[in-house]
Amino acid sequence: MSWFSTFLTSSIGKKLVMSLTGLFLIVFLLVHLTGNLQLLIDDGGRQFNLYAKFMTSNPFIKITSYGLYAFILLHAVQGILLWLKNRAAKGGGYAVNNTKATNTVAGFAKNMGWLGIIILVFLLIHLYQFWLQMKLGTLPMVNYDGVEVKNLYVPVMDAFSNIGFVIFYVLSMVVIAFHLWHGFQSSFQTLGLNHKKYTPFIQFLGKAYSILIPLGFALIPILFFLRNS
């Protein structure tokens, strides 16, 4: 094995892959939220549709999006494999388990596998519902000042007027919040970035981020539903 594959397949290397892909996805969430917040502009979806057009046609964004697909896949597959490997390494639990942890987010740490799988299910539904429709589906077209663009606003309106879907969406955001609650600060620890001066700030930022970002996502379907009903 070359030094590089030895490095990346070692225990620390595998965690490094989880950490770096996780941090990339954390940044992606902020970009995605910025896009979604344009749904709240009360212009019948004009701004949002033009943004969707830009995001699917700009070559730099296209290249980045291939990286994104790869990182999501890598994070999910590696995460599930490590979860199984870790369970096997324990080889059964205790009749009584009372182990404490010094980190307050440890309860989430133990459940990253479950939380991740729920997020993966949400993601597959989410991709089918919006991403696939944009890429392959037959969305109605809309004309803004002579520019013909796909009207992604329509399936969004449809989805967000369904109370069942709105509840599912909001609950999924809660799961993402829990996943981030541990994941954000854990990714820095894995990279070895633990320092008395900076770790308290990283932990604070991680908690703020894992509340504010999912909250921002969850507000959109709630506001849409309230506006439509």
Partner: protein
């Protein structure tokens, strides 16, 4: 001296091949006994009843050897923080309590008998890098290499690890990262250890992986259960030293 009537549920397992189970025993203990003395009393009782005594490990009984590995009521070395089983006293429990005692659980720590597990995986991790290379001969003068107090203290804090394995027992992934990082941090922070720092961290992590321990999920149960209260800052240090050594070492394998 106040006596306590206790119900013990203890893991009994004949050998590595057999399936074990929790056996229930009634015992009269004193609140001044250490947990190990209480188990000694249990064994006296079992011997008088012509039953097989309970196998458990112990050596120094003064908090420095790390032999007394067992999980008491779901916590490695019992409910008291920062202590080994030998320093846990029965006054931590109440009259009439039921106490569950199990061996450390990890694939890399197979049960030998009852509460005794094979922790030789730790020895092999130490052998792979827990040393410095020096020429033998006349003893070097003490303090011939000046080390500032903060560095010496940080290295010493890591060096207090007694290799008991509570970190592995507490970890839901049975990860040995706290142990290995303590050993790496002990030597890699000191001038004497710096010469072999890169190879040390590469070798020790490689050996740790080979032993079949799980990966760290930054749960920090290890830090909470460590009888020497070793910090998970050491795990971060090992991570960055490993990443740095992998990327900058001259060796290709």
């Amino acid at each position: 001296m106040s006596d306590m009537n206790l119900t013990l549920k203890v893991w009994r397992q004949k050998n590595n091949q057999s399936k074990g189970s929790l056996e229930t025993y009634k015992i009269l203990a004193s609140e001044h006994m250490s947990f190990l003395e209480m188990l000694d009393v249990l064994n006296e009782q079992l011997i008088q009843e012509k039953k097989e005594p309970l196998a458990f490990e112990h050596d120094c009984r003064e908090w420095i050897c790390g032999a007394c590995s067992m999980v008491i009521n779901g916590q490695p070395h019992g409910p008291q923080r920062g202590t080994t089983t030998c320093q846990l006293h029965m006054r931590q429990f109440k009259d009439g309590d039921t106490i569950v005692v199990e061996p450390f659980r990890a694939k890399a720590f197979p049960v030998i008998k009852d509460l005794v597990v094979d922790r030789s995986a730790f020895d092999r991790i130490i052998q792979s890098g827990g040393f410095i290379s020096v020429n033998t001969g006349q003893a070097v003068d003490g303090n011939s290499i000046p080390i500032d107090k903060d560095t010496a203290s940080a290295a010493f804090d890591a060096a207090t690890c007694i290799g008991c394995g509570a970190c592995v027992a507490a970890c839901p992934n049975a990860s040995a990262m706290l142990f290995t990082s303590a050993k790496v941090s002990h030597l890699n922070q000191l001038p004497q250890g710096k010469l072999e720092a890169k190879q040390r961290v590469l070798n020790m992590v490689s050996q740790m992986d080979e032993e079949g321990f799980g990966l760290c999920s930054n749960v920090t149960a290890c830090e909470a259960e460590c009888p020497k209260e070793i910090s998970v800052e050491n795990i971060a240090r090992m991570n960055r030293e490993y990443i740095g050594a992998s990327l900058t070492s001259d060796k290709f394998v």
